[in-house]
Subunit: 341 residues, 2 copies
DNA sequence: TAATCTAATGCGAACGTTCGCATAAAAAAT
DNA sequence: ATTTTTTATGCGAACGTTCGCATTAGATTA
């Protein structure tokens, strides 16, 4: 069975306390003993039992990450960054995928809490029925940080400026001469979607164009919707088609490529496409996708930094609300081109 | 501070033992007391402290999952399935991404162990230098299961029959009339790659074709390699080009689509492409990718089942080695077509 | 009515740590 | 030589559970 501190202690004829202290380099223990203990620990294959440590310190050095669906590239790329950032500071990450279910979202938090986590990171579904639940997460007694916007909610957030990112995208299309710019997305239930839509509207206004409801597709929350919706638009006569499409996320852009190809149109010559997220696959697509990059690494690092700060503060005065917004950047690749005359 | 069993005990003027037993429906506690305790627990917001429970039971109800890189769709889709399957049985999943580094692979296991996990699931990099390390994982004292093949290694494995999957793919291409079939992949260091390559060779043999080294690309381990390699092949005169390409994984297929497009060729009319894995994106590609499906859900469920069995056995006689192989299935979509005359 | 049995509950130790508060020995100061 | 200081170590409780072994009270039997 696993080696404990006591095994080392009796091996060396010292107390468990001494071993415990020696292992954490406590100055009270003489250097020789410290060395001796560490050597034995290594030789005997000692592994500290974090369960026991946690029980006394009531800290687990683990962070919970709740996401919509881990199999979606956006979330897994985020999770990877979060894990890396956490690991760097000695924290482990528990991941729970809510599968977009409000119920599982609650169950996940419940599980996290009894498992014992020091902090909670959430990318929530923003389901209406879980609204109250989100704001109550604060009462869990551990730091909670959202990757959601939740503008009007009194919670901690680290987010990207979706509005700004979308404006950048529309301006880019505008500068290429496009005016008939469509929007493909899904619903308005979550704040990032609202912001991207608002950015789209205002971006068009800047170009002196009024957004037409006809060219805003929001009906379904499915990556394949991009295909269906754009296919319908492209069925119209040439002068009634959009010349560029803004996709609310990169996955939708896939379907748009397909719709274009099936309509006999080329991207970007006949149709410019712009995405949002900058997933790894964007570079592999043909043509490589112009998109708005969400700085996932910085987002993850800011999140972990927030946690570390809160852990350090620990009752050190009232912790103030954090609302951090990172700037997205437009990554121009080859899916956008000047409007053909 | 969090509610403990003692809080409930003093609230109800019973002992902590009684509360503990009542909560797990121990028949020794009268029904009335059981109900009373449960009611109070719910009202007071009691959450069992799994740390404490673990300390005494030395079980954590957590499983570790070690993968190459969580941000790759294949691994994240697998992780999602594993998480779902584990959750169903009350187990949590700790994910650690080794980032394809042999060192981090070891560090991850170290971390898992001191954190305390009941079982370990591994998708290893198969780096030569970690060979010994893999076989020693057995000595950790917990069940260990690999998603790798490790044919000649004495470890537990749940895998897909990569050889068979590839044969199916080649047969499919053969039945469409293709004979000049190329292979794009990376190295031969890991067993699944060896198997796919062997399947390719034997599949060609069945068609009466000898595999030509010229049409086997293995130089780089990078999704963009599919693009580069196929682009080179397609630069040759028409009758010296492959008419179909087998991609060792779906991601490579992306680049192949691009190479084809840039060479002015259409998929599947001028070039058939077949992938491996069946990632979610396959359906979104244009054209939707014909591919060999790895049954991730079944793989994950088999893995969890294995764990549950081992937990239940618990010193119940010598546990026998498990080598489970699930059958992949060919998913025919629209990236393969009959050879043009 | 005393002895035995059953049902319901409680006591106290244990799991592997950490930490406050001794204690002991050696060194320094008086 | 005695007191004070310093240095190094140990004791025992605590964290929140679980579990073996009492203990108590009421019911049953002789």
């Amino acid at each position: 069975m696993p080696i404990t501190i006591k095994d080392i202690a009796s091996e060396l004829n010292v107390s468990a306390t001494t071993v415990s202290r020696a292992l954490k380099n406590d100055a009270r223990i003489s250097v020789e003993v410290r060395e001796k203990v560490k050597k034995s620990a290594a030789k005997m294959g000692y592994r500290p039992n974090l369960m026991a440590k946690s029980l006394v310190s009531s800290r687990t050095d683990a962070i919970g990450l709740l996401v919509d669906n881990l199999s979606w590239s956006f979330f897994s790329e985020l999770a990877e960054r979060v894990q890396n950032a956490a690991e760097k500071h000695g924290y482990s990450v528990f991941i729970y995928s809510s599968q977009k279910s409000a119920g599982l979202e609650k169950a996940g938090v419940e599980r996290f809490m009894s498992r014992g986590i020091d902090g909670l990171l959430v990318y929530a579904t923003e389901k209406e029925e879980n609204r109250a639940f989100y704001s109550e997460l604060d009462k869990l007694g551990i730091p909670v940080l959202f990757f959601n916007h939740f503008l009007r909610m009194d919670v901690n957030c680290v987010t990207t400026d979706d509005y700004d990112g979308t404006i950048q995208a529309i301006r880019h299309l505008g500068s290429l001469g496009h005016r008939r710019i469509a929007y493909v997305g899904s619903g308005e239930e979550s704040s990032f979607k609202q912001q991207r839509l608002a950015g789209y509207r205002d971006g068009l206004n800047e170009l002196g164009v009024e957004a037409s409801p006809h060219w805003i597709g929001l009906e379904e929350d499915d990556p394949a919707y991009g295909y269906r919706k754009v296919k319908a638009w492209l069925a119209a006569p040439a002068d009634e088609r959009p010349t560029a499409v803004f996709a609310q996320n990169d996955m939708l852009a896939f379907g748009i490529y397909r719709a274009a190809a099936e309509a006999g149109l080329r991207v970007p010559d006949d149709l410019s496409v712009i995405g949002f997220d900058d997933l790894d696959v964007c570079q592999l697509m043909h043509p490589p996708l112009t998109t708005v990059r969400i700085p996932l690494k910085q987002l993850a690092e800011a999140a972990i930094r927030f946690m570390l700060d809160r852990f350090a503060a620990e009752a050190g005065g009232e912790a103030v609300r954090l609302k951090t917004t990172l700037s997205p950047s437009l990554i121009i690749r080859q899916s956008t081109a000047p409007l053909k005359q």
